[in-house]
């Protein structure tokens, strides 16, 4: 099979409008991947499946990656000559800019007929908030169905063209995406007998909140992330039936 670099060049020649980036893996396995243009993702996927030299007819695994917003500090060093004739001073100017985050779907492709693989392709969303749509590759590889549903559930990527895009693991009423880096799980740390590390921190915070009266330890304490305090959903308790003779 051709190398990923050769494949990248062939894709660039075949789809001149698409941006195809090579993502190098510096590890020993050197499993390099290709980041494809999301807009042309499905066309490229069809090409990968049907090209006689590739015949990547089997998608073994689809997974998601969350890239949160990243603060990057730029340091610009400028040399200022000393007016008194001394050695020039080096002034560092620091500026912080935020590299916007995004979500990524990673597909691992193999060829059953030609017995080669994997070819790893990645599709990237515009951001993590509103532009989270990627083309679904389920029409290309049937095995992507549940995997894309799982990514939709846990990361919140919307796969356009998926035949049945529903949550797979969590219930339909669930609003969060638990595999995102900024997910905050509900504050149910009332009883942590052997807590340590991060769990101990959460348990201490819970106890402090319980003492301060913010969270009643006997009450349901759904703590939605990024919600205003006080907008927590009240515990809806179904009436207890005492249906005993």
């Amino acid at each position: 099979m051709e190398t990923v670099q050769q494949l990248r060049d062939r894709l660039a020649a075949r789809f001149p409008a698409a941006r195809v980036e090579l993502v190098l893996n510096p590890g020993v396995a050197a499993e390099h991947s290709l980041r494809l243009d999301a807009a042309l993702g499905r066309d490229i996927a069809l090409f990968l499946r049907d090209d006689p030299a590739l015949r990547l007819d089997y998608c073994s695994n689809v997974t998601g990656v969350d890239w949160p917003d990243k603060e990057i500090t730029d340091v610009v060093k400028t040399t200022v000559p000393d007016p008194a004739g001394g050695p020039p001073k080096i002034v560092e100017e620091k500026s912080v800019h935020v590299q916007p985050g995004c979500l990524e779907a990673v597909y691992h492709l193999y060829s059953m007929s030609l017995k080669h693989g994997p070819v790893v392709i990645r599709l990237r969303t515009g951001n993590r908030a509103d532009a989270v749509t990627l083309p679904s590759l389920t029409p290309v590889w049937r095995s992507c169905d549940f995997q894309e549903r799982e990514i939709f559930d846990l990361f919140g990527i919307v796969f356009a063209g998926h035949p049945d895009l529903r949550r797979l693991l969590m219930w339909d009423e669930f609003k969060d995406h638990p595999m995102r880096k900024d997910y905050v799980e509900p504050d149910d740390y009332e009883w942590e007998p052997t807590a340590h590390g991060a769990v101990l921190e959460r348990a201490k915070a819970h106890q402090l909140a319980a003492v301060a009266g913010v969270v009643d330890p006997g009450q349901s304490s759904a703590n939605p992330p990024k919600a205003a305090p006080g907008s927590t959903t009240p515990a809806t308790t179904a009436p207890v039936k005492e249906a005993k003779p």
């Binding site: 330890p217 006997g218 179904a238």
Partner: protein
């Protein structure tokens, strides 16, 4: 036993009349002596509990790998039938015992509570394995209930990950002991004889971030935090 409190809200246990001790009031040695002479002394309570404790029908459902051990306990090598609990019922209406065998996910928890509500009294619950007790290795997961005792009352806890079939059998024997010691009347009467205790429990709803309510304060309240 004879010095039971006389003023009780429920029907009080009548004090045994002089000269006619109730069956529970004579010593085991005396009863054994009578039995040797062909006289069997018992009480209705004892007979009733003896019958129930030796015919506990579990509900046939499993949640995770603990269920495999539960199945192994039902096979010939361990043979749960020796304790009269081999008839796993596929219907909650016919079951006496719910063995919560495995990880209870938050998605599964309302269904477990519904099954529990559908079981007729008297009913018992065994939390089998670390997950059913506390969430186990998945305790800090976003989708795992931190113990089924937050939603329904649990009679026997069997630790282990998973517990071996012998541990399950030991838990069953402990449950039999508990049933044999149950009172039918009086202030310490068994749960199923008490009209003031619920036999059904609120089924939590699927909320936007968690189950609502995430726990039942009538069943479970967090222990007091260690005094810091």
């Amino acid at each position: 036993m004879s010095d039971a409190p006389q003023s009780t809200p429920a029907s009080p246990r009548p004090a045994p009349a002089e000269g006619f001790p109730a069956a529970g009031n004579i010593s085991d040695a005396d009863r054994e002596e009578l039995r040797r002479h062909g006289i069997l002394l018992t009480s209705l309570e004892e007979l009733y509990n003896w019958g129930r404790s030796n015919s506990i029908w579990p509900l046939q459902f499993g949640l995770a790998c603990c269920a495999i051990e539960m199945i192994a306990a039902a096979t010939a090598r361990f043979d749960i039938a020796r304790f009269g609990a081999e008839i796993f019922r596929p219907s909650p209406r016919q079951a006496d015992l719910m063995i919560v065998s495995g990880t209870v996910t938050k998605k599964m928890a309302p269904l477990v509570v519904r099954l529990w509500n559908q079981m007729p009294e008297p009913k018992y619950c065994i939390a089998m394995g670390a997950c059913a007790i506390s969430g186990g290795p998945f305790k800090q997961g976003y989708n795992v209930l931190k113990g089924i005792d937050r939603l329904i009352p649990v009679d026997i806890y069997i630790p282990g990950c998973p517990p071996r079939p012998e541990a399950l059998l030991n838990g069953l024997i402990q449950l039999q002991k508990q049933i044999k010691g149950e009172k039918l009347t009086g202030p310490d009467a068994a749960r199923h004889t008490r009209a003031d205790l619920p036999s059904e429990y609120p089924i939590p709803a699927y909320g936007a971030h968690d189950l609502e309510p995430a726990k039942n304060p009538a069943v479970w309240t967090p222990p007091a935090p260690p005094s810091a």
